[in-house]
C-alpha cells in the first residue's frame, strides 16, 4: 500500500455522488432534426456533425459514470478496510491489556 495514502471514504463517496449527478447534464441537449434543411450538402454536414457530437457526448457521459462507479467501489473498499482494521484492533485490544 502507498505509504502516503490519506483517504476519507465518506468524502470519496460524496465525490462519487457528485460525479454521478453531473454526468446527465450532457444529455439535456439532443441533436436537432435537420431533415428540413435547405441544401443537400449542408443538411448532410449538419447531420454528420450532430451524430458525431452525440457519439462524443455518450462516450464522455459513460466514462464519467464509470469513473463515479469506480470511486464508489474504492470508497466501499476503504470503508471495509477500515472496518477490518478496527475489528482487528478490537480483537487484539484485550491481549494488550
Amino acid at each position: 500500500m502507498d505509504s502516503t495514502i490519506r483517504i476519507d471514504p465518506a468524502e470519496l463517496a460524496a465525490l462519487a455522488n457528485e460525479l454521478g449527478d453531473i454526468a446527465p447534464i450532457l444529455s439535456t441537449v439532443y441533436p436537432p432534426d435537420v431533415s428540413a434543411c435547405q441544401s443537400w450538402g449542408v443538411t448532410d454536414a449538419l447531420k454528420d456533425f450532430a451524430l458525431e457530437l452525440e457519439e462524443n457526448r455518450r462516450e464522455v457521459q459513460e466514462s464519467i459514470q464509470i469513473l463515479a462507479d469506480g470511486v464508489i467501489k474504492t470508497a466501499d473498499d476503504f470503508a471495509e478496510h477500515d472496518a477490518s482494521l478496527i475489528a482487528n484492533f478490537n480483537r487484539i485490544l484485550p491481549e494488550l491489556k
Partner: protein, 352 residues
C-alpha cells in the same frame, strides 16, 4: 425537401439552422458546465484522497476535461459558422429581391412604352437600355446563385472541420492496398461521376469517411503539402489554429496531367483514381493540436465538378475532349451534368 435553385438562391428555412445553432450552443454550454464541476471535484479530491489512487483520479478527470473542452470548442466554432451562414443567406435574399425588382422595373417600362415589345433582348431601339438592364439583372442573379453555392460550401467545410476525425489515415495506406481496395476507390469515383452526370445529385457533397479521403490523403499533391507542413512544424513555425493550403492545378503541371492521363487510360489500375477524378482541387489544412513531436491536423479538399472543367483539355485552350458533344447533349436535352461541389475532410496525426 426544398433545395435552393438558380431562380431562387435565397430559398431555405433559416429557422432550421437557428434551431441547430441553439442546440449546438446548448451542448457547448453543457460541456463548460461539466468542466467547471469536474475541476471543482478534482480540486476538492486532493483534500481527502492522496497517494497513487488520488493522483490517478485527478489524471482521469483531466483527460475528461480535455475531451469536453474540445467538444465545447467544436460546438462554439460550428455555431459561429452557422451565424455567418444565416447572415450570408440573408444578404443573398436581399440581393435576389433586388435583382427581381430591377427586372420588374425594366419590364414595366418596356410594357408601358408606346414601342412594340420585341422578341429577345434587342440592343437597338428606344428601349434598348431597359432590355440591357433585364439582361444585367439576370446575370447578377446568376452571380447571387454562385454566392449561395459558396456560402453552402464554406458553412459545410467549417462544420465538417470541427468533427474530431473519424477518418484517420496513414500516409502509405493507399499504396499498400491490394487491387480490390483500389477497385473500391475507382468505384467510389465512378459513383461521383454518375451523380454528376445524372444532374440529380446534391450540389454540395460532404465526404468524411470511406475510401476517397484515404486515397486523397495519399495523393502526390497531399504528400507534398504534408512535407511542407512537417518542415514548418520542425522549424517551430506553426501554431495551433494556423491554416494554409495549396491548389492542385492541371493547367500548370505537365507531369500531373500525364499521370492522370495514364490513369484514365488504364481504368485506374496504376494511379489514384479519386485524385484523377478531382483533377484541379483546393487543399487546405488547419493545425488542431501540437503535443511533443506530434501534430493533429485537419485537411480539407474542395473541388467543383462542372461540365466545362470535365470537357476542357488542360493546357490546350479552346479545345474540348472527344466526349464533350455527348456531355453537352446530356446537359441540354436530359438535364444532366449539373455542377456539383465536393468537400472532403479528414484528420491526421503527423509526427515531426
Amino acid at each position: 425537401m426544398k433545395v435552393w435553385t438558380t431562380e431562387n438562391p435565397g430559398a431555405g428555412d433559416m429557422s432550421v439552422i437557428e434551431t441547430w445553432k441553439a442546440s449546438v450552443d446548448g451542448q457547448s454550454e453543457a460541456c463548460l458546465k461539466v468542466i467547471e464541476k469536474l475541476r471543482a471535484i478534482s480540486s476538492s479530491s486532493t483534500n481527502h484522497w492522496e497517494g497513487k489512487g488520488g493522483v490517478a483520479f485527478v489524471g482521469a478527470i483531466a483527460r475528461r476535461i480535455e475531451r469536453l473542452d474540445l467538444m465545447s470548442q467544436a460546438c462554439a466554432k460550428a455555431s459561429a459558422a452557422a451565424s455567418e451562414y444565416v447572415g450570408a443567406v440573408e444578404i443573398i435574399r436581399e440581393q435576389t429581391a433586388e435583382c427581381y425588382a430591377r427586372i420588374e422595373r425594366a419590364r414595366s417600362v418596356i410594357a408601358d412604352s408606346e414601342e412594340p415589345v420585341l422578341e429577345g433582348f434587342p440592343s437597338h431601339g428606344p428601349n434598348a437600355d431597359h432590355y440591357e438592364e433585364v439582361l444585367q439583372a439576370v446575370d447578377e442573379l446568376g452571380l447571387v446563385a454562385y454566392r449561395r453555392h459558396e456560402a453552402d460550401q464554406i458553412f459545410m467545410r467549417d462544420v465538417l472541420r470541427q468533427m474530431s476525425g473519424r477518418v484517420r489515415t496513414e500516409r502509405s495506406e493507399y499504396e499498400t492496398m491490394d487491387r480490390d481496395d483500389r477497385g473500391q476507390a475507382t468505384d467510389a469515383s465512378k459513383d461521383l461521376f454518375l451523380a454528376f452526370a445524372s444532374g440529380q445529385a446534391p450540389r454540395d457533397i460532404g465526404i468524411t469517411d470511406g475510401i476517397i479521403p484515404v486515397a486523397l490523403a495519399d495523393s502526390g499533391h497531399m504528400k507534398n503539402l504534408r512535407e511542407r507542413l512537417i518542415r514548418l512544424l520542425k522549424g517551430g513555425d506553426l501554431d495551433v489554429g494556423d491554416q494554409d493550403g495549396s491548389t492542385r492545378s492541371l493547367s500548370s503541371d505537365v507531369l500531373t496531367l500525364s499521370a492522370d492521363g495514364s490513369n484514365v487510360i488504364t481504368g485506374g489500375r496504376f494511379g489514384n483514381t479519386p485524385e484523377t477524378f478531382f483533377g484541379s482541387f483546393e487543399a487546405t489544412y488547419e493545425v488542431v493540436k501540437i503535443e511533443g513531436g506530434e501534430a493533429t491536423v485537419t485537411f480539407t479538399v474542395t473541388n467543383d465538378t462542372t461540365r466545362q472543367s470535365f470537357n476542357r483539355v488542360p493546357l490546350v485552350p479552346f479545345v474540348e475532349m472527344p466526349w464533350a458533344p455527348g456531355v453537352n447533349i446530356g446537359h441540354d436535352v436530359l438535364g444532366g451534368y449539373e455542377p456539383i461541389g465536393e468537400t472532403v475532410v479528414w484528420t491526421e496525426k503527423i509526427e515531426f
